[in-house]
């Protein structure tokens, strides 16, 4: 991890996120979101979370963009102008308070890679030390996801399949409604 690089990536990340919200052309917003995901993937890769980076790059910068574009082509390319000036004054203090709370809470977090951190107590050292012997799998992440915590993965897969089926059913019902 290089601090300057991380700071630069985070700045780009925030800029793309704000631009994606501001821009009226939805196609441009999708492109900005894809860029956002790509830089998020770079940050994950910088934190040596390669598995997460791969999924973020493939899903966020890849397929999500295609799905969004498909949605735009079947609906509308321009975002409606919403007058939110009055609402903005109500949400700003809430956002500021939330941000302050988050920054305050982050001061209590352990340092990155701290061996004394609570997350690295308990079962984590056992997984790290024994996973190669237990499962013959050099990639600890895979051993964790598909062996030690395979029930979590089963649930996750179920969520994805259920979400896709639900989306498909809603879309198909709408299509049939349009046909009459």
């Amino acid at each position: 991890m290089i601090l300057e690089l991380d700071v630069l990536l985070f700045v780009i990340l925030i800029v793309t996120a704000v631009l994606a919200l501001k821009v009226r052309d939805l196609l441009a917003a999708v492109a900005l979101l894809a860029a956002y995901s790509l830089f998020a993937a770079l940050i994950f890769a910088g934190a040596v979370a390669v598995d997460v980076a791969l999924v973020e790059a493939v899903l966020g910068a890849g397929v999500t963009g295609v799905l969004f574009i498909a949605a735009i082509l079947t609906t509308s390319r321009r975002a409606d102008v919403v007058d939110s000036s009055r609402r903005r004054w109500a949400t700003l203090p809430v956002l500021a308070a939330f941000l302050a709370l988050m920054i305050y809470a982050s001061t209590g977090l352990p340092d990155k890679g701290d061996p004394e951190a609570p997350a690295h107590q308990g079962v984590a050292p056992v997984y790290l030390e024994d996973s190669l012997e237990d499962t013959e799998t050099p990639n600890v992440v895979t051993a964790l996801l598909a062996d030690y915590r395979s029930q979590d993965t089963l649930g996750e897969t179920l969520v994805i399949v259920t979400a896709a089926l639900g989306a498909a059913l809603v879309l198909r019902a709408r299509e049939q409604e349009e046909l009459g």
């Binding site: 397929v63 079947t74 062996d147 089926l165």
Partner: protein, 146 residues
């Protein structure tokens, strides 16, 4: 959204690239033991290999090679394979999804868990692949040209 793209360049590149993208997806699914990857990322890349022809090529080719029905079918089959893997372990006398409980000949317990991970990764890959293709197909609508 579906149907042949007007540009010859786009059609050629799309047609040429998609089998390699799909193969890379299979590689990522199978390579989860040794490097980054596994079922989730691999399944998505495999789905991209199917979605790219639908975006660029004639519907006859794109939907002829991978029909619309394959999406929900793969999603269900992957989910079922995952759940059955867990049930097999239970029937063999172990805990749910405890691959080492299934005794196959002389294979060591760690090797069984290695193989169990592979089976589960393939199941997850199938499920994610199917889910992505299903969502894309429903969003993009029916093929326009024959």
């Amino acid at each position: 959204m579906t149907g042949a793209y007007p540009s010859e360049v786009v059609r050629t590149v799309g047609g040429l690239l998609s089998p390699f993208i799909a193969m890379f997806g299979l590689y990522i699914i199978a390579h989860g033991h040794y490097g980054p990857g596994g079922g989730f990322a691999g399944g998505v890349i495999l789905a991209v290999g199917v979605i790219l022809p639908r975006l660029t090529l004639e519907s006859r080719i794109a939907f002829g090679s991978v029909p619309r029905e394959l999406g929900p079918l793969a999603a269900g089959a992957g989910m079922l394979a995952f759940a059955l893997t867990g049930l097999v372990a239970v029937l063999a006398g172990g805990a749910f999804l405890d691959y080492a409980a299934v005794e196959v000949g002389e294979i060591a317990a760690s090797r069984l868990r290695y193989l169990g991970i592979l089976v589960v990764e393939i199941a997850v890959g199938l499920a994610v692949f199917g889910a992505m293709v299903l969502v894309y197909d429903e969003l993009a609508g029916s093929p326009v040209d024959g």
